[in-house]
Structures are given as structure tokens and as C-alpha cells.
Symmetry: D3
Subunit: 315 residues, 6 copies
């Protein structure tokens, strides 16, 4: 497959892509044309059908389409000038080719996460973690494929797993460094801190906020789901249940970031800082590696309230 | 019964009160004495036992005690100089005399609330309201007695009911004024908006934050409890369930006030403003009526960021 | 009359509209054309004269013009392609057809407002209200026609009256609910709270900030005007005068919203919250009803710091 | 007269002072005593009458009293142990001795201010300034004696004049430096920027917020007073009137500091910054000279959000 | 030379300008064209080369180019339609014609600044000022030519000197008015407060943030440079050195404006306010004089959080 | 030695302590007494000398004194009732006994820090680190003994080393996890991030802000010191120097926390978050272990804007 990221100005193309968006517009002269966003795992490109005719079959937003035409350049960006379009059937394409995806090995990451489940000692807490990650195969499947965001950090397939693992690892490190921390509580909270994202954001290829997600948010959704599961585990200590739920509720660290409670336990504090650290460093990484001219100042970044640039080489 | 609010400087007293707090301290000269906070429904007073002797029986914080002695005045405030203390048995006193309480009729208020339950038309939503207010007798009992706060507005027995009714009434008024509002959704959300306070704050006479309350907060607790109840009602529309929970989650109006979501529906917006309006006006009322010198400027009030005074008479 | 809101793509038109804005521009090729904003009470549309010729008479911004041509569609929005233009004379059109206007009955609303004037008991305060609403015919006329804003909530003819009445009604309701409130003070303050808007914003069809409005703002203008009027009423109690002016000054509730004083009286607090409530709910209504696709998420709304959507139906 | 600032530990005294506050309290042992705040122009001291007897005549808060006794030291501060008290008659004392007062010559400052009035060229504006400062003798008298604050900067007799002159001088300097500034507008606005303080704060010796001051604030009071005066000057240009009032309204510079408008004219901007500069430097001066140990760090000052100290000597 | 600010619609031109930016783009039809920003001291204009041919020689961003063509008007703004381009050699043009520049006499300003250096009495402090302004000829040259900003106030050649002198003058005035101020400290701090801008911003014609400027900022750079210089002056009192550096560090007045310390000395406070005053008034001046329609409201200005307009004439 | 932390109510004592503060006060009855703060490594206690007599020798603040007397309890806190005092000579005591101190092994921590110095590869950067930690013996000595704060986290001997090591370790971990990070830059910045504290805060036993510290702050002091040292290392790359200084300047993460620059490099971001994480967790640890009743809610903690409690036990 020839990916969008590999196309060059002037090149002819003949390939299957995902049509993320289709609009039917008119030129000033009143002639209809199609304006599309075309996606594969390497990114998104603008495409146009200027001449509607017999080679342009019917298709719709979110269809996989086989297109032919030529690459042009409009105001510095590549654009696909499409001459023929055909809607594809399931089986003609592998959806994985069309979603941005983690560059790490998903199965390896999941195995590492399971090792942290094994590390939990308190039997009820361990049972809680196992009930999701070990015993619930459907959950495991969805957890591996989900993203951690619509657009910002870890907004790709496997992103939820990659981010969760990054936070769990750092929490385990912190439990080593600060002996006052209860490792079991911190590990289990880290594993489930973004649990609610499975319902807040729809699966790929859509990867957008659901109605429930917009109304309730992943913090509530995830905490409520844990609450129900803990009630099914006989003898789950009520105090531990409250502490785990507190860590999830407080993991955004500040009320204005959507946590209904500020961290009141050392583990809640540690989790919120670990989550923030992994998110910010990943966001910075995505900014720094997303730009071609990597050694220049990249302009003001609102999240960091600063102009940023890639560091010079020390080796 | 002679209430604390009726005692005058120099007067002898012989009465039963609730001991809200007991501390054993020493004078500069090294002699032990008791320092107490004594409560009845009219308020709280400072009391001292300067001479520990045979007339001073053993008792503890939160005991009802029968005390004798004389009222004195220390730096402008009345203080009880206690000569004899005896711990009382259940039955010797009526707890209702010792809790601050709404000055409205609790049963009348509850009946009015039930009329709003009747006004709900959508059958699943009505069922939800009835399952608590009509069918759950224990819930009804607790709801009538609970306060809406530890100290600020409506921090007295019946306060939760009085505040809830005030908000429900205003919401019903708003549904009349703004026809776009879905009355059923607004009424049911108003009825349950502080549901979580039943678990966040312990019952009188303690009336303090519980461990669960400190960790999870009434917004989460109440929404999660509704969530569970709605799942037991066959065919409860998922979208309505999300909308009701959204209204509860968003009822503080701003993230920094502990709502994990800002109002995204017109009813959520209306509820948050009605709740705020009733709370602010009640707080102002408590400030204005709590001071004896009612027509003067009462000094800077932090909540209102202003000096305040009672308005002059227009009639 | 065929309103702008009724025009469809491809349709020929021949109608009189208000020209809100006229710009003379050039195409890339250097040819002159007219770009206009055309308004009637149903909204504003983009219009172009591509061919300047004998059928295009002279006219200017804020003229009423009779135009002929065809409706086209440019990038999803309707656009008027104008072939002939003629400036109209007064009498050829009814200005009321060209201003957005309340959908309520203005005279009914005004009568209801007068009933609240009657409800005021304190004679000086009642005299103050009557001196404007009853005795000053010119004032009454202007008050009925004015908008409450340049663009946001109630920014249409009759909007000032509709908003004022909404606030007065809610204040009357609050005076019922909270007996500590002095009804006369609250009613009169509600009636006049946006008095200064008559001078801050010019009349329709202009409906824009005046020089005085930009420099002084409606809070100062209205309070100063009341101040002068009260001085003409013999024996007006100075304390009441201060209290009324305080309520107007403080009605934005927060210093950062332009009130030079925070509410220090219960009525000032009630007024500021009633004003806010009516404004926010009306704004939400305008957003929810202004969009065609009414059941979808409508995108992030800056005022509400949230994505919003219309609630599902409960009946 | 022996001023409070001159008294030393152990010294006997016999002098007339102003009793700013009188409280009747009881010792732990139940014995009544008087606790007073005693004031003269050099400051305020704590005083006690431990023994009530025939030498202690009746008096009240704000009386001038002749007292005898001995200076003692309590926890590092001087305290007056009073043995005899007698209330004085008018004529026995000169009130000027009992009010803190500017250390500059009031008449010289007033003459300098009049020279700036003369400097105004536009005849209506000049007339406005003269109508207060030249023609209104009662106004002149009050203006010279008033303070500019209850407690912070320039909170002493003559403080309003001293601060006003400081701001006028700086504004005149700025009009020299920035030719775009309209000097007449800036001078007249500077002269009247704190006009409302004459009514917001009562005269000495009380020097406290009035009811009107608490409700309306000096920004509104002063602007409204100017508004009325300008209407009495025939032909006063409306645009200039609005510009002058704008400068007064906006002189606190920020909405959150109580200005209902942000500066929109260059002169309003200049005035707000000149006012702020004079106020802050004077406050810093009062802090630095109010402490005995002048070369040390004086501790965290909330207004400046910093620990501060006096600068070392450069000459 | 015919300046850009003098060109009129339709006019033919033949002149040398600085090419601030060159982009090679394509039309919708796929044809390449050049889009340029052309600068001289009167401003910046958009220019296009639609036809690439033998008359269009090679050139690049920041080259001085001689261009021929005709002025056109596109959407209300003038645009240069370029037919011929030739890159110029050094010597063909005077760079001073192409940079915006102060309208004051640079040498006069510098002489005035030197008089303030002479006014300093403390010998070490005077030596410090002389070592830069008198003895360091290269420094003097760069100081006279530098701007004080990339775009906002004083962003032109000579701007750093003009702003520095404005602040020094005001500080000298303040030292007259407030005798507690140490004039030497305030003058020297004012002279060097923006010293770091020489390294934070590159010289004209580039006038943009340097790498060092982006990473360290002028506050640190300038303070560190002074620190090194003071160490070379024998016997420089350590306390004075700290005080001078403190004034520079704190001269932005608030931590959120990039000062790592809030003003803790009266001179630091005075400097921060003088700097702010000169900067704000200059910015306002640049806004008010930069617009052609000088007497209208100019729209919302983000820095001033207000719509602004030029004041009416008083003379 | 019997430490202050071991004393019990009623016990007689006879021991040498550090007198952190001495005040000479008077009782109400006018009798002089001494009020002292007495310190050893386990904490600070209040002490009084009620009877001044021959057994009470002369001493001053910061003297080591040998005292005798009895422990009493005043309002719930232990107090030392001192009967005899004698000032001690150097040699009679070991200062280390009187300073709070890290509970970790200082030499072990230092050795671990040196291993991180060894890990740096870039020769100039390594040279920089060695020039302080390896070659400057006096620096090493001071670095090991210093605290990281006057009162909050790590405010004890060895605290600077312990905190620095905690941050270095975490940074090394982060360099493992995020390969885009330049390890050398992050390690060296972490080692020196609080370098300026050596001069900002005086050594034990004083441990208070110095004059230079108050005026300049540790961020500037440390960065300037590094700047000078780097200039002495031949060929130190200017870009690396700027990047290292940027990381130090930006390590507080936000302008309002005193950093004059926000993090613009990934390493600066990582350092600021690692510093914050170690500081917050250590502060939480100090709060949780500083209270005796370890399992209760400990009350509202301003830094964390929350009530906090110790977590329940999971093992």
C-alpha cells in the first residue's frame, strides 16, 4: 500500500483510503464538486473531485473508497485531484492501515501491564484488577485498541494502553521511592484511571466524543463502573473502595481540570502528578516530532504557553 | 426547658444540654479544668468547669449532660460557669431540642414535594422519583431530618428538605417561564440534586463530613446512587438517564466549585442557577438575621466579598 | 413580502430589503463589484452585484433598496446574486419588517409591567416608577422598541421590555419566597436595572454602541438618570434613594462584570442573580433554537465553556 | 502638649486626648474595667482603667478626655494605665492636635492646585474647575481637610489634597512628555478624580465609610456630582462632558478595582496610571517610615506581595 | 525615493525595497506565482509576481530588490503587481530607508541620557553607567540603533533609546517628588532596565527573538551582564550590587509578567511603574496614530481590554 | 542526650539546647519574664523563665544554653518551665544534635549523586558538573549540609542533597522512558536546579533568607553562578550553555511561581515536573508523619487545597 505520507507532488495514485469527511459544494460559477478528507494511518489529506461523472460512484462519509488521480500542490499543501472513485467492500482493506496507531508492540505492553496486576498483593484489589484485565476478554480487546484522546496526546490506536502503562510504570517507580505510598492502591488506581475513556470516546475509526461522554465525562463513568464491579467482589473493604474511587475522581489534580475532588491521599496526589507528567511529555514529544523542520523554534504552543524547540544534540 | 439563647448574665441555671466538645486543659498555674462547647437548638455556648470535684461526674463529647451553675460574661460573650455535671440517660431528653432545626413545618414541606413528584409525566422518570420519595420510607425519614451543610446555608435539621423544595419550586417556575425547558427533567434533577448529602454528611447531632464524604463528595455519591436505581427500572431510556445524571453532575455550575462537567443542557443550566440562587439568598438571610444589631453594617462577608447590611423598611 | 429566511437556492427574487452594509471591491482580475449585507427581520444574508450597469442605481449603507436577481449557493450558504438595484423612498416599506423583533406581544408585556408598577406601595418609590412608565409617553415608546443588547441575548426590538419583564417577574416571585426581601425596592430596581441601555445603545435599525455608551456604560448612565429623577420627587428618602441606586450599580454582581459595587443588600443580590438567570437562559434558548440541526451537539460555546445540545423529548 | 508618640515606659502623664473607642469588659475574676483606644495626631495607643472609682467620670467614645496615670509596657507595646479621667469641654483642646495630618503646608498645596486650574484653557472646562475650587468656599474648606482613605495611603487630614496635587502634578508632567495628550482633559480629571471621597468617607475625627459611601462608592458619587455641575454650565460640550466623566469612572484602571469602565482614552489611561503610581509610592513610604527598625526586612506586605526593606544609603 | 506609504491605486512604480518574506505558491489552476511582503520605513505591503519570466531574476527573503509594476487594490488594501524584479547590490540602497525608525533625534536623546549619567553621585554606580554609555563605543552604537520590541511599543530603530530615556526622565521626576527614593539607584536601574534586549532581539532589519533571547529572556540576560560588569569595578559595594540587580529583575512588576521577584525596594517599585507607564502610553499612541480614521472608535484592543478612540480637541 | 521530642509532662529536665529565640516580656502584673523558643534536632518547644534570679545567667538568641526545670502542659502543648540557665561554650555540645536533619545517610547520597555525574557523556557538561561536585571540596561540604527550604519541604540539614538526588533520580528514569530527552542536559540541570539555595538561605542553625536571597532569589543566583563557571570551561558550546541556563530558569514551571521563563525545551519541562513531584510528595509525607493521630483527617492543608488523611493499610 502506498500511504498518504509517501505521496509526492505530481505523482499519479490508485489506492484505497478512508473517507473521513465528504462535502458537496459549488464553485463560484455554480458547478458542484466534492471536497473530501482522506485518511490513512499516516495522516489526513485534502482531496477534490472537480468533475462529477460516470467514474464517480456513490459513497459517503466513513466509507472506504478506492480512488485514482494525481497529486497537486495548493498553497504549499499536497492535494489529491481525484478522477475516479469506487466504494470498497469489507475485506478489500485492512482497517488497521487507516488508523493512526502506537509505534510500540501492543501485546508486549499488555503483558507488561499484566505483570503489574500480578504485583498487587491485597486479594480484593488484585481480584478487581484481574476481573477486568485477565478475566474479561472483551474488555482486554477494547482496551488494547482504544485511544486516550480525540486529538491531543495518545490520540491513536493503542494510545490508552500506552498511556496507562506509562502511568503505571511511573507509579511503581514512585512507590519504590516514597515508602509511605501504598503500592497496591497506587497501582490499581493507575491501571483504571482512564477506564471511563472506553465509553467517553467511541472506537476507531470514529474516535469522537459519545453522547454519554459529553454529558458525563470519563472521570464519572470510570469511577461508577469500578464502583459496580467492586460491589460484586465479596468482602471488598468499604474503606479501600472509597480510597480507590477517590484516586480516580481526583486524578486530574485540580477542580478546574474536571476532578470533583482534590487529592486528599498521598496515592491520589502521586497518581495525578504521574498522569500529568506522562501526558505533558507525550504532548511535547508529539509537537516536536510532528514538525519537519525539527531544529527551529516551532511557534507559540498554547498548552505550554511558550514558544518551543527541539533541544540540540549532546552526543 | 430554658434554652441557651434565653440565658442572661448572672443567672443561675440547671438544665440538660448536649456536650458538643469536651477538652481537658490546665491553667497557667498548672491546675486542670474542663472547657466545653454546649449546644441546644438555639445555638452553641462556651462553658467551663473550674473546680473538678465529686459533683463533676464522668462524661464525654456528644453526651447529653445535666449541668448546674451560673452565667458569667467574658470579653463580651456569655460563658457558663459549671458547678455540677451529670450524664443523662436516653429518655431524659428529646434530641430535637438540641439540634438547630428549620422553622418551617417538615410534613407540610414534604407533602408539597410529593405534589411535584406527581407532576412528573414521563413514566420512567416518575417511577424513579417515587422509588425514593414515596416507596422508600427509610429514605423519606432520613431526607426529612438531614441538613444541607455542615455549617453554611441550611445547616440545620430539615435543611436538606427545605433547600431541595426551594430549588424544586424555583425550577417549576422556570419551566413555566421558558417553554424550551423539559419540566420532567428539571424537576427530577432538582429533587435529587443534593441526594448525595445523605451520605456525605453524617446525621445529627454529629452533622459532620463522613470519610466517604471527604473522599468522594456528594456530587459523585448522589449521581452514582441514581445510576444504580435507574438500572433497576425496566426500560429506563439510556439517553434520559444520562441527561438526569448530567444535571446532577453539573449542578455546581463551575468546575472550580466541584462539578466535573459544566452545564451542557438548558435544564442543567437552570438547575445550577436555581441552586445557587436559593443558597445565596438563604446565606444572606442567615447573616442578616443572625446579628442582633440588625440595621447596621455587619462588616466584610467573605462569601459576598462585601460589607453588608439589612435594608431599610419600605412599608 | 418574501422574507430572507424563506428564500431557496435557485429562486428568482424581487423584493425590498435594508442594506446594512455596502462595500465596493475588486476581483483578482481588477473588476469592481459590490459586496453587501442585506437584512430583514428574519436575518442577514450576503449579496453581490457582479455587473455594474445602468440597472444598478446609486445607494448607500442603511438605505432600503429594492433588488432583483437570483439566489445561489456559495460554500453551503445562500447568496443573493443581484441584477438590478433601486433605492426606495420612505413610505414604500415598513421598517418593522426589517428589524429582528420579539415574538411576544409588546403591548401585553407593557401592560403586565404596569401592573407591577401598581404593586409598589411606598409612595415615593411608586411615584418614581410612574414618572417614567406611566407619565413619560416618549420614554414608554422608546422602552417598548429598544433592544437589550447589540448582539447577545435579547438583541432585538422589544428585547429590553421582554428582558426587563422577565427579571421583574422573577423578582416578584423571589419576594414571595424570601420574606426578608423588601418587595418595593426589588421591583423598582428590576424595572430600571437596564434603564441606561436606552442611551448606551442606539435605536434600531442601527442598534450599536453610542459614543456615550462606550465611554460611560449603561450602569452609570441609568443610575445617574434615576438619581436626577429622584431629586425632583419631593421628600424622596435619601436612604431609599441610595439603596435603589446601589441595586442598579451592583446588578452585574461582580466587579469584573462592570459593577462598581458588589451587592451589599439582599435585594441587590437577588436582582443580580435574577438578571443573570434570565440572561443566561435566554442566551441558551437563542443558541438552541438558532441552529437547524436541533438534536445534535452544537459545538463549544464560549459563554458556557461547554459543548451544548438540545435536550431529548420527555412527553 | 505631650504627644502620645513621645511617651516613654514608666513615665507619669496628665494630658488631654481623644477617646476613639471605649469598651467595658470584665476580667476573668469578673471585675469590670475599661479598655480604650486613645488618639492624637501622632498615633493611637491602648489604655486601661483597672480601678473604677470616683476619679473616673462618665465619658463616651469620640469624647475628648483628660487623663492621668502611668505608662507601662505590655508584650512589647506601651500601654496607658489610667487612674483619673475627666471629660473635656469644647474649647479646652484644639481638634487639630488629635488628627493625623499631612506634614506639608495645606495652603501652599492649595495655591499650587489653583495654578493648575489657571493652566486650563478650554473655557467650559476651566469654568467647571473654578466652580468648585475657586467659587465654592465651603467645598475648598472641606477639600483641604479631608483624608483620601480610611486607613491606607493618605489616610490623614489634608491627605485628599496632597494626593490630588501629587496626581495633578504627574499628569501635567505626562502632558509635557506625550503631546497626544489633551492637557485640559487630563488636568481636570486629575483634580476631580477622588471628588466622591468627600461623601464616601466622613470627616475627621470619624473618618469612616458613610452609608452612602458603602452603597455607592466614590467613583459613582464623584462622577454624578460632576455630571450635575456640568449641566449648569451653559454650552458645556456633551462630548467633553462624557470624556471627563469617562476619565473619572475609569480611574481605577481595572474593572476588578471598582471602575465600571476600562480606560478607552489616552487621558483616562494616563490618569489611572498616575493615580496608581502616587498611591503605591505613598503606601510604600508609609510602610518604610512607620517602622522603627528602618534598615531591616519588614516582613511580607500583602499589598506588594513581597517582603520589603528600606534601601541602603547612596550618598 | 518613493515610499510605500505614498503609493496610490493604479500608480506605476519602479523602486528598491526590502523583501521581508518570499513564498512560492500555486494558483488553483496549478500555476506558480510569488507572494511577497515588501518593506520600507513607512510600513509593509503585499506584493505578487503573477508571471514568472525572464524579467524576474533570482532573489530571496531579506534581499533588497528593485521592482517595477503597478499598484492595484485587492479587498480594500493596496497590492503591488510586480512585472520585473532585480536583486540589488550593497551600496545601491541605504538600509536606514527600510527600517521603521524613531521620529526623534537619536544624538540629542543620547546626549540627554549622558547628562543623567553625570547626575549620578555615588562613584561606583557612576563608574558602572560610564563603563557602558561613555567608554564602550560599540555598546553606544548598538544601543542607539536597537528597538525595544519585536512588534509592540517602540518596535523601531532608536526605540530602545527612546524608551530608556522616557523611563529615566520619569524616574528622575519621581526622585524629585518622593525624597525617600535613592536617586542614584533609580537612575542607574532605569538606564539598564532593558539592557538585555540588545541580546534578546536581533538587530535590524531582522529584529526578531534570538535563540538566547527565547531561552533566557532580557531580564536575566541584562541582569547577568550587569553582574559581571560590577565585579570588574573595584570595591563595588555588594549590597548596592544586589539592589541594582533586584531593580532590574523586578522591573516587570509582577511574577506573571516574567519578573522572578516582585519589587521589594521603593526604587524597584518606582522603576516598574515608570516602565509600565511609558510602555502603555506609547502603545496607546501607536494605536491612535496608526489608524487613518483617527476620530472613530478603533475597535477592541486586547492589551487594553477595551474599545478605544482618539480624544476630541480641547483647543 | 534527652531530646525535646522525648520529654513528657511533669518530667524534670537538665539538658543543653539551642535558644532559637529570646523575648523579654512583662506579665499583666508588670513582672518581667523570659519567653523562649528552644530547639534541638527533634523539634522546637516553648519555654518560660518566670523567676529571674541569680540562677538565670545572661544569654542571647542563637546561644546554646544548659537549662534545668520541669515540663508542664499549657493548653494541650508541652512547655518548659525553666529554673536555671547557663550559656554553654563551644565544645560543650555537638551542633548536629540541634539541627533537624535528613534521616538518610549523607555520604551514601553524595556517592550516588557522583555516579550520576559520571553518567554524563558530553565532555563540557561533565566538566561543569565535576568542577562543582568533584573538584570543589568546599562546595561539596556546604552542599551536603544545606537545607532546601526555610520551612516547607526538605527544610533540614542534608535536605538540599536529598531533594536534589530525588530529582536527579527521577530525571534519569524519565530519560529512560522518553528517548527524545537529552539525558546529559536533564541530569546536569537537575543537579544544579537549586544551586542558588546555597546563597539564598543561610546555613544552619540560622537557615533563613539572606539579604541577597530576598533581593535576587535562588533562580537568578544559581543561573548566574553557572553562567560564570561555564565561561571558564574552554569551548563550552554557547547553545548548550543557553539550554542549561534555560532549564534552571524555567524549573518552577510557571511565571507566577517565580520562573522568568516557561519551559521551552522538553528537558526543561521534565525538570520542572520532576522537581514539583518530589517537592509535593515530600511535603505530603512531612504532613502525614508530623501528626501523632495518623489515621484521622488532619484538616484543611492550604498547599493541597484539601483536607488530607493517611491511607489505610493494604498489607
Amino acid at each position: 500500500m502506498r500511504y498518504l505520507g509517501e505521496l509526492r507532488d505530481g505523482e499519479m495514485f490508485k489506492e484505497t483510503y478512508l473517507c473521513k469527511q465528504l462535502q458537496i459544494l459549488k464553485t463560484k460559477a455554480g458547478k458542484s464538486y466534492y471536497s473530501m478528507l482522506i485518511q490513512d494511518k499516516t495522516g489526513i489529506k485534502d482531496a477534490k473531485v472537480w468533475e462529477l461523472g460516470p467514474g464517480i460512484e456513490h459513497f459517503d462519509t466513513m466509507d472506504y473508497i478506492h480512488i485514482e488521480g494525481q497529486v497537486t500542490c495548493f498553497q504549499g499543501s499536497l492535494q489529491l485531484n481525484v478522477k475516479r472513485v469506487r466504494k470498497c467492500q469489507e475485506g478489500e482493506y485492512d482497517p488497521a492501515d487507516y488508523m493512526p496507531s502506537t509505534d510500540k508492540n501492543v501485546e508486549d505492553m499488555y503483558k507488561e501491564l499484566l505483570r503489574y496486576v500480578d504485583k498487587i498483593k491485597e486479594p480484593h484489589v488484585k481480584k478487581l484488577a484481574q476481573s477486568f484485565f485477565v478475566e474479561d476478554k472483551d474488555f482486554a480487546l477494547r482496551f488494547k485498541r482504544h485511544s486516550a484522546a480525540k486529538s491531543v496526546h495518545h490520540g491513536f490506536m493503542g494510545g490508552l494502553l500506552e498511556h496507562t502503562l506509562g502511568v503505571v510504570r511511573l507509579c511503581d517507580y514512585l512507590a519504590d521511592q516514597y515508602p509511605l505510598i501504598q503500592r497496591d492502591l497506587l497501582l490499581v488506581s493507575a491501571m483504571f484511571h482512564d477506564l471511563g475513556k472506553l465509553d467517553e470516546i467511541s472506537s476507531f475509526p470514529e474516535n469522537d466524543y459519545t453522547d454519554e461522554g459529553n454529558l458525563l465525562g470519563h472521570i464519572f463513568i470510570g469511577t461508577a463502573k469500578l464502583n459496580e464491579r467492586m460491589k460484586t467482589i465479596p468482602g471488598f473493604p468499604k474503606k479501600m473502595a472509597s480510597e480507590i474511587m477517590h484516586c480516580i475522581l481526583a486524578h486530574h489534580g485540580e477542580l478546574e481540570y474536571g476532578s470533583p475532588k482534590k487529592p486528599a491521599l498521598m496515592e491520589a496526589l502521586a497518581l495525578s502528578m504521574a498522569d500529568n507528567l506522562d501526558a505533558k511529555l507525550q504532548t511535547m514529544k508529539e509537537i516536536l516530532t510532528g514538525e519537519e523542520d525539527k531544529n527551529d523554534w516551532l511557534g507559540f504552543q498554547r498548552l505550554f504557553e511558550s514558544n518551543v524547540r527541539r533541544t540540540s544534540d549532546y552526543e
